[in-house]
Symmetry: C2
Protein backbone atom coordinates (compact mmCIF):
# COMPACT_ATOMS: atom_id res chain seq x y z
CA UNK A 1 0.00 0.00 0.00
CA UNK A 2 1.33 3.46 -0.87
CA UNK A 3 0.14 6.73 0.58
CA UNK A 4 -1.24 9.07 -2.10
CA UNK A 5 0.97 11.86 -3.41
CA UNK A 6 -0.12 15.30 -2.36
CA UNK A 7 0.41 18.44 -4.38
CA UNK A 8 0.72 21.25 -1.85
CA UNK A 9 1.02 24.97 -2.48
CA UNK A 10 2.78 26.92 0.28
CA UNK A 11 2.20 30.62 0.87
CA UNK A 12 4.61 32.83 2.82
CA UNK A 13 2.25 35.79 3.09
CA UNK A 14 3.34 39.37 2.55
CA UNK A 15 2.27 42.44 0.61
CA UNK A 16 5.65 43.52 -0.76
CA UNK A 17 6.69 39.92 -1.48
CA UNK A 18 4.25 37.04 -1.15
CA UNK A 19 6.24 33.82 -1.51
CA UNK A 20 4.53 30.98 -3.37
CA UNK A 21 5.89 27.47 -3.81
CA UNK A 22 4.35 24.17 -4.80
CA UNK A 23 5.72 20.67 -4.30
CA UNK A 24 4.42 17.20 -4.88
CA UNK A 25 5.24 14.14 -2.87
CA UNK A 26 4.51 11.89 0.03
CA UNK A 27 6.28 11.19 3.28
CA UNK A 28 9.32 8.96 2.93
CA UNK A 29 9.85 9.54 -0.78
CA UNK A 30 11.74 12.20 -2.75
CA UNK A 31 9.73 15.39 -3.19
CA UNK A 32 9.36 17.19 -6.51
CA UNK A 33 9.30 20.91 -7.18
CA UNK A 34 6.22 22.00 -9.11
CA UNK A 35 6.67 25.79 -9.20
CA UNK A 36 8.23 28.55 -7.14
CA UNK A 37 8.04 32.35 -7.22
CA UNK A 38 6.75 35.49 -5.58
CA UNK A 39 3.93 37.95 -6.13
CA UNK A 40 5.21 41.48 -5.57
CA UNK A 41 3.29 44.68 -4.96
CA UNK A 42 4.65 48.17 -4.46
CA UNK A 43 4.60 49.84 -1.04
CA UNK A 44 3.74 53.03 -2.98
CA UNK A 45 0.38 51.58 -4.03
CA UNK A 46 -2.78 51.78 -1.96
CA UNK A 47 -3.62 48.83 0.26
CA UNK A 48 -6.68 47.98 -1.85
CA UNK A 49 -4.71 47.79 -5.10
CA UNK A 50 -2.08 45.66 -3.37
CA UNK A 51 -4.62 43.16 -2.02
CA UNK A 52 -6.28 42.93 -5.44
CA UNK A 53 -2.87 42.21 -7.02
CA UNK A 54 -2.05 39.53 -4.43
CA UNK A 55 -5.44 37.93 -5.03
CA UNK A 56 -4.91 37.93 -8.81
CA UNK A 57 -1.46 36.37 -8.42
CA UNK A 58 -2.66 33.62 -6.09
CA UNK A 59 -5.69 32.88 -8.28
CA UNK A 60 -3.40 32.49 -11.30
CA UNK A 61 -1.19 30.08 -9.33
CA UNK A 62 -4.17 28.04 -8.13
CA UNK A 63 -5.44 27.76 -11.72
CA UNK A 64 -2.06 26.59 -12.92
CA UNK A 65 -0.81 24.45 -10.03
CA UNK A 66 -4.14 22.91 -9.03
CA UNK A 67 -2.96 21.91 -5.56
CA UNK A 68 -4.69 19.36 -3.32
CA UNK A 69 -4.11 21.58 -0.30
CA UNK A 70 -2.74 25.01 0.58
CA UNK A 71 -0.38 25.62 3.50
CA UNK A 72 -0.15 29.19 4.82
CA UNK A 73 2.22 30.51 7.45
CA UNK A 74 0.36 31.18 10.66
CA UNK A 75 0.84 34.84 11.54
CA UNK A 76 1.28 35.95 15.12
CA UNK A 77 0.57 39.44 16.32
CA UNK A 78 3.42 39.28 18.82
CA UNK A 79 6.38 39.78 16.50
CA UNK A 80 7.18 42.12 13.63
CA UNK A 81 4.65 44.71 14.76
CA UNK A 82 5.66 46.96 11.89
CA UNK A 83 4.80 44.47 9.15
CA UNK A 84 2.33 42.16 10.85
CA UNK A 85 -0.77 43.90 9.52
CA UNK A 86 0.28 43.49 5.89
CA UNK A 87 1.24 39.90 6.57
CA UNK A 88 -2.12 39.20 8.20
CA UNK A 89 -3.98 40.83 5.32
CA UNK A 90 -2.04 38.92 2.65
CA UNK A 91 -2.62 35.67 4.56
CA UNK A 92 -6.35 36.42 4.64
CA UNK A 93 -6.35 36.74 0.85
CA UNK A 94 -4.50 33.44 0.45
CA UNK A 95 -6.84 31.60 2.83
CA UNK A 96 -9.87 33.16 1.13
CA UNK A 97 -8.74 32.17 -2.38
CA UNK A 98 -8.10 28.56 -1.35
CA UNK A 99 -11.29 28.23 0.72
CA UNK A 100 -13.47 29.65 -2.06
CA UNK A 101 -12.31 26.69 -4.16
CA UNK A 102 -13.03 24.23 -1.39
CA UNK A 103 -9.34 23.43 -0.93
CA UNK A 104 -8.21 22.41 2.55
CA UNK A 105 -6.11 25.13 4.18
CA UNK A 106 -3.51 24.34 6.82
CA UNK A 107 -1.75 26.92 8.95
CA UNK A 108 1.75 26.11 10.16
CA UNK A 109 3.83 28.26 12.49
CA UNK A 110 7.34 29.30 11.43
CA UNK A 111 8.85 27.09 14.13
CA UNK A 112 6.80 24.07 13.02
CA UNK A 113 8.10 24.60 9.50
CA UNK A 114 11.71 25.05 10.61
CA UNK A 115 11.52 21.97 12.83
CA UNK A 116 10.00 19.88 10.05
CA UNK A 117 12.62 20.93 7.48
CA UNK A 118 15.80 21.23 9.55
CA UNK A 119 15.09 19.39 12.80
CA UNK A 120 15.34 22.66 14.75
CA UNK A 121 12.52 25.10 15.41
CA UNK A 122 15.03 27.93 15.71
CA UNK A 123 16.92 27.34 12.44
CA UNK A 124 17.80 30.45 10.43
CA UNK A 125 16.68 31.30 6.89
CA UNK A 126 19.96 30.05 5.40
CA UNK A 127 19.53 26.62 7.00
CA UNK A 128 15.93 26.37 5.83
CA UNK A 129 16.94 27.43 2.31
CA UNK A 130 19.77 24.90 2.24
CA UNK A 131 17.48 22.06 3.27
CA UNK A 132 14.77 23.07 0.79
CA UNK A 133 17.39 23.04 -1.98
CA UNK A 134 18.62 19.61 -0.90
CA UNK A 135 15.19 18.05 -0.39
CA UNK A 136 13.97 19.18 -3.81
CA UNK A 137 17.33 18.35 -5.49
CA UNK A 138 17.65 21.86 -6.92
CA UNK A 139 20.81 23.31 -8.47
CA UNK A 140 20.55 26.55 -6.50
CA UNK A 141 18.69 27.91 -3.51
CA UNK A 142 15.36 29.50 -4.53
CA UNK A 143 15.46 33.29 -4.23
CA UNK A 144 14.20 35.44 -2.61
CA UNK A 145 13.93 33.89 0.87
CA UNK A 146 10.12 34.27 0.75
CA UNK A 147 10.03 31.81 -2.17
CA UNK A 148 12.19 29.29 -0.30
CA UNK A 149 10.01 29.73 2.79
CA UNK A 150 6.88 29.00 0.76
CA UNK A 151 8.45 25.74 -0.44
CA UNK A 152 9.41 24.90 3.14
CA UNK A 153 5.76 25.38 4.17
CA UNK A 154 4.61 23.09 1.38
CA UNK A 155 7.18 20.41 2.31
CA UNK A 156 6.22 20.70 5.97
CA UNK A 157 2.60 20.14 5.05
CA UNK A 158 3.32 17.06 2.95
CA UNK A 159 5.23 15.57 5.86
CA UNK A 160 2.78 16.56 8.56
CA UNK A 161 -0.02 15.29 6.33
CA UNK A 162 1.96 12.06 6.30
CA UNK A 163 1.94 11.88 10.06
CA UNK A 164 -1.78 12.55 10.06
CA UNK A 165 -2.19 9.82 7.44
CA UNK A 166 -0.45 7.28 9.65
CA UNK A 167 -2.45 8.31 12.70
CA UNK A 168 -5.66 8.12 10.68
CA UNK A 169 -4.63 4.73 9.38
CA UNK A 170 -4.02 3.45 12.90
CA UNK A 171 -7.37 4.86 14.04
CA UNK A 172 -9.16 3.30 11.08
CA UNK A 173 -7.58 -0.08 11.78
CA UNK A 174 -8.47 0.12 15.45
CA UNK A 175 -12.06 1.10 14.64
CA UNK A 176 -12.42 -1.67 12.06
CA UNK A 177 -11.16 -4.36 14.40
CA UNK A 178 -8.23 -6.80 14.23
CA UNK A 179 -9.15 -8.51 10.95
CA UNK A 180 -9.68 -5.39 8.84
CA UNK A 181 -7.18 -4.53 6.11
CA UNK A 182 -9.33 -3.03 3.36
CA UNK A 183 -9.17 0.76 3.85
CA UNK A 184 -6.01 2.63 2.96
CA UNK A 185 -4.99 5.50 5.15
CA UNK A 186 -4.81 7.71 2.08
CA UNK A 187 -8.43 7.11 1.17
CA UNK A 188 -9.47 7.58 4.78
CA UNK A 189 -7.54 10.83 5.02
CA UNK A 190 -8.89 12.14 1.73
CA UNK A 191 -12.43 11.46 2.88
CA UNK A 192 -11.88 13.14 6.19
CA UNK A 193 -10.04 16.20 4.95
CA UNK A 194 -11.98 16.81 1.77
CA UNK A 195 -9.06 15.96 -0.51
CA UNK A 196 -10.55 14.96 -3.81
CA UNK A 197 -7.75 14.68 -6.35
CA UNK A 198 -5.16 12.22 -4.98
CA UNK A 199 -2.82 11.68 -7.92
CA UNK A 200 -1.62 8.17 -7.08
CA UNK A 201 -2.60 5.42 -4.71
Amino acid sequence: MRVAELRVMGVDPGLTRCGLGAVEGRPGAPLNLVKVGVVRTSPDDEIGARLVAVEAGIEQWLDEVRPDAVAVERVFAQHNLRTVMGTAQASAVAILCASRRGLPVALHTPSEVKAAITGSGTADKQQVGTMVTKLLRLDAMPKPADAADALALAICHVWRGGVQNRLAEAAARAAAGPGATGTTAAAYFRDRAGYSRGRKQ
Copy 2:
Protein backbone atom coordinates in the same frame (compact mmCIF):
# COMPACT_ATOMS: atom_id res chain seq x y z
CA MET B 1 -23.41 75.30 -5.56
CA ARG B 2 -24.06 72.19 -3.47
CA VAL B 3 -21.55 69.51 -2.72
CA ALA B 4 -22.66 66.12 -4.07
CA GLU B 5 -24.23 63.64 -1.71
CA LEU B 6 -22.06 60.67 -0.95
CA ARG B 7 -23.36 57.22 -0.16
CA VAL B 8 -20.76 55.64 2.11
CA MET B 9 -20.62 52.12 3.48
CA GLY B 10 -18.72 51.75 6.75
CA VAL B 11 -17.13 48.49 7.87
CA ASP B 12 -16.18 47.74 11.48
CA PRO B 13 -14.15 44.63 10.68
CA GLY B 14 -14.35 41.44 12.71
CA LEU B 15 -14.79 37.72 12.17
CA THR B 16 -17.36 37.01 14.85
CA ARG B 17 -19.28 40.20 14.14
CA CYS B 18 -18.43 42.40 11.15
CA GLY B 19 -20.42 45.63 11.51
CA LEU B 20 -21.79 47.14 8.30
CA GLY B 21 -23.58 50.45 7.98
CA ALA B 22 -24.39 52.75 5.10
CA VAL B 23 -25.38 56.41 5.17
CA GLU B 24 -26.00 59.05 2.57
CA GLY B 25 -25.39 62.73 2.93
CA ARG B 26 -23.06 65.66 2.62
CA PRO B 27 -21.32 67.87 5.14
CA GLY B 28 -23.56 70.43 6.77
CA ALA B 29 -26.84 68.70 5.98
CA PRO B 30 -28.84 65.99 7.76
CA LEU B 31 -27.56 62.49 7.06
CA ASN B 32 -29.79 59.58 6.10
CA LEU B 33 -29.52 55.96 7.15
CA VAL B 34 -29.41 53.57 4.19
CA LYS B 35 -28.88 50.22 5.91
CA VAL B 36 -27.30 48.80 9.04
CA GLY B 37 -26.45 45.30 10.24
CA VAL B 38 -23.74 42.75 10.95
CA VAL B 39 -22.29 39.70 9.26
CA ARG B 40 -21.66 36.99 11.85
CA THR B 41 -19.48 33.90 11.64
CA SER B 42 -18.97 31.22 14.25
CA PRO B 43 -15.70 30.95 16.18
CA ASP B 44 -16.19 27.18 15.84
CA ASP B 45 -15.76 27.35 12.07
CA GLU B 46 -12.42 27.22 10.30
CA ILE B 47 -10.80 30.51 9.39
CA GLY B 48 -11.24 29.84 5.67
CA ALA B 49 -14.98 29.27 5.96
CA ARG B 50 -15.30 32.41 8.10
CA LEU B 51 -13.47 34.60 5.58
CA VAL B 52 -15.59 33.19 2.74
CA ALA B 53 -18.75 34.02 4.71
CA VAL B 54 -17.56 37.56 5.46
CA GLU B 55 -16.76 38.05 1.77
CA ALA B 56 -20.20 36.79 0.73
CA GLY B 57 -21.91 39.10 3.22
CA ILE B 58 -19.97 42.18 2.12
CA GLU B 59 -20.50 41.39 -1.56
CA GLN B 60 -24.25 41.15 -0.97
CA TRP B 61 -24.21 44.51 0.79
CA LEU B 62 -22.19 46.16 -1.99
CA ASP B 63 -24.65 44.82 -4.58
CA GLU B 64 -27.57 46.19 -2.63
CA VAL B 65 -26.22 49.45 -1.22
CA ARG B 66 -24.08 50.46 -4.22
CA PRO B 67 -21.95 52.90 -2.21
CA ASP B 68 -19.77 55.64 -3.72
CA ALA B 69 -17.03 54.85 -1.23
CA VAL B 70 -16.20 52.37 1.53
CA ALA B 71 -14.75 53.39 4.89
CA VAL B 72 -12.97 50.70 6.91
CA GLU B 73 -11.61 50.98 10.42
CA ARG B 74 -7.84 51.11 10.37
CA VAL B 75 -6.54 48.23 12.47
CA PHE B 76 -3.48 48.62 14.65
CA ALA B 77 -1.35 45.73 15.80
CA GLN B 78 -0.68 47.42 19.15
CA HIS B 79 -3.97 46.80 20.92
CA ASN B 80 -6.29 43.84 21.32
CA LEU B 81 -3.53 41.34 20.57
CA ARG B 82 -5.95 38.46 21.08
CA THR B 83 -8.40 39.54 18.39
CA VAL B 84 -6.26 41.71 16.15
CA MET B 85 -5.47 38.97 13.64
CA GLY B 86 -9.13 38.24 12.93
CA THR B 87 -9.83 41.96 12.70
CA ALA B 88 -6.95 42.45 10.26
CA GLN B 89 -8.11 39.52 8.15
CA ALA B 90 -11.73 40.70 8.03
CA SER B 91 -10.56 44.21 7.11
CA ALA B 92 -8.49 42.74 4.28
CA VAL B 93 -11.60 41.06 2.90
CA ALA B 94 -13.60 44.32 3.07
CA ILE B 95 -10.84 46.33 1.39
CA LEU B 96 -10.44 43.64 -1.27
CA CYS B 97 -14.18 43.49 -2.07
CA ALA B 98 -14.42 47.28 -2.45
CA SER B 99 -11.19 47.63 -4.44
CA ARG B 100 -12.15 44.85 -6.87
CA ARG B 101 -15.15 47.01 -7.79
CA GLY B 102 -13.00 50.09 -8.22
CA LEU B 103 -14.60 51.78 -5.20
CA PRO B 104 -12.42 54.22 -3.26
CA VAL B 105 -11.48 52.82 0.15
CA ALA B 106 -10.69 55.06 3.10
CA LEU B 107 -9.19 53.90 6.37
CA HIS B 108 -10.06 55.85 9.50
CA THR B 109 -8.64 55.20 12.96
CA PRO B 110 -11.02 54.65 15.88
CA SER B 111 -9.96 57.98 17.42
CA GLU B 112 -10.54 59.85 14.15
CA VAL B 113 -14.04 58.40 14.04
CA LYS B 114 -14.77 59.19 17.69
CA ALA B 115 -13.48 62.73 17.29
CA ALA B 116 -15.55 63.29 14.14
CA ILE B 117 -18.76 61.99 15.72
CA THR B 118 -18.51 63.18 19.33
CA GLY B 119 -15.81 65.82 19.34
CA SER B 120 -13.56 63.63 21.52
CA GLY B 121 -11.08 61.05 20.28
CA THR B 122 -11.46 59.15 23.55
CA ALA B 123 -15.27 58.91 23.65
CA ASP B 124 -16.72 55.56 24.73
CA LYS B 125 -18.99 53.28 22.71
CA GLN B 126 -22.12 54.59 24.44
CA GLN B 127 -21.30 58.18 23.44
CA VAL B 128 -20.59 57.17 19.86
CA GLY B 129 -23.82 55.17 19.70
CA THR B 130 -25.83 58.07 21.16
CA MET B 131 -24.45 60.51 18.60
CA VAL B 132 -25.00 58.09 15.70
CA THR B 133 -28.62 57.69 16.81
CA LYS B 134 -29.07 61.46 17.01
CA LEU B 135 -27.29 62.30 13.75
CA LEU B 136 -29.34 59.79 11.79
CA ARG B 137 -32.57 60.67 13.67
CA LEU B 138 -33.17 57.03 14.65
CA ASP B 139 -35.71 55.85 17.23
CA ALA B 140 -33.23 53.58 18.97
CA MET B 141 -29.49 53.02 19.07
CA PRO B 142 -28.38 50.49 16.43
CA LYS B 143 -27.33 47.19 18.01
CA PRO B 144 -24.88 45.55 18.37
CA ALA B 145 -22.16 48.15 18.96
CA ASP B 146 -20.33 46.91 15.85
CA ALA B 147 -23.26 48.05 13.71
CA ALA B 148 -23.30 51.50 15.34
CA ASP B 149 -19.53 51.74 14.89
CA ALA B 150 -19.88 50.96 11.19
CA LEU B 151 -22.37 53.83 10.84
CA ALA B 152 -19.99 56.10 12.75
CA LEU B 153 -17.24 55.23 10.26
CA ALA B 154 -19.53 56.04 7.34
CA ILE B 155 -20.59 59.37 8.88
CA CYS B 156 -16.96 60.23 9.64
CA HIS B 157 -16.11 59.58 6.00
CA VAL B 158 -18.91 61.77 4.66
CA TRP B 159 -17.68 64.60 6.84
CA ARG B 160 -14.00 64.10 6.17
CA GLY B 161 -14.79 63.73 2.48
CA GLY B 162 -16.46 67.10 2.82
CA VAL B 163 -13.25 68.61 4.08
CA GLN B 164 -11.39 67.03 1.19
CA ASN B 165 -14.03 68.40 -1.19
CA ARG B 166 -13.48 71.91 0.04
CA LEU B 167 -9.71 71.57 -0.17
CA ALA B 168 -10.03 70.18 -3.68
CA GLU B 169 -12.35 73.05 -4.59
CA ALA B 170 -9.83 75.58 -3.33
CA ALA B 171 -7.05 73.83 -5.24
CA ALA B 172 -9.13 73.74 -8.42
CA ARG B 173 -9.93 77.43 -8.15
CA ALA B 174 -6.30 78.30 -7.53
CA ALA B 175 -5.19 76.18 -10.50
CA ALA B 176 -7.82 77.66 -12.82
CA GLY B 177 -6.90 81.24 -11.98
CA PRO B 178 -8.85 84.13 -10.51
CA GLY B 179 -11.61 84.27 -13.14
CA ALA B 180 -12.61 80.62 -13.09
CA THR B 181 -15.91 79.59 -11.56
CA GLY B 182 -17.09 76.72 -13.74
CA THR B 183 -15.94 73.54 -11.99
CA THR B 184 -17.74 72.34 -8.91
CA ALA B 185 -15.65 70.84 -6.14
CA ALA B 186 -17.84 67.77 -6.24
CA ALA B 187 -17.11 67.09 -9.90
CA TYR B 188 -13.43 67.74 -9.33
CA PHE B 189 -13.37 65.39 -6.35
CA ARG B 190 -15.28 62.66 -8.18
CA ASP B 191 -12.82 62.83 -11.07
CA ARG B 192 -9.83 62.72 -8.77
CA ALA B 193 -11.00 59.95 -6.50
CA GLY B 194 -12.72 57.79 -9.08
CA TYR B 195 -16.19 58.48 -7.74
CA SER B 196 -18.53 57.78 -10.60
CA ARG B 197 -22.05 57.80 -9.24
CA GLY B 198 -22.63 61.12 -7.52
CA ARG B 199 -26.37 61.10 -6.85
CA LYS B 200 -26.96 64.84 -6.82
CA GLN B 201 -25.04 67.92 -7.81
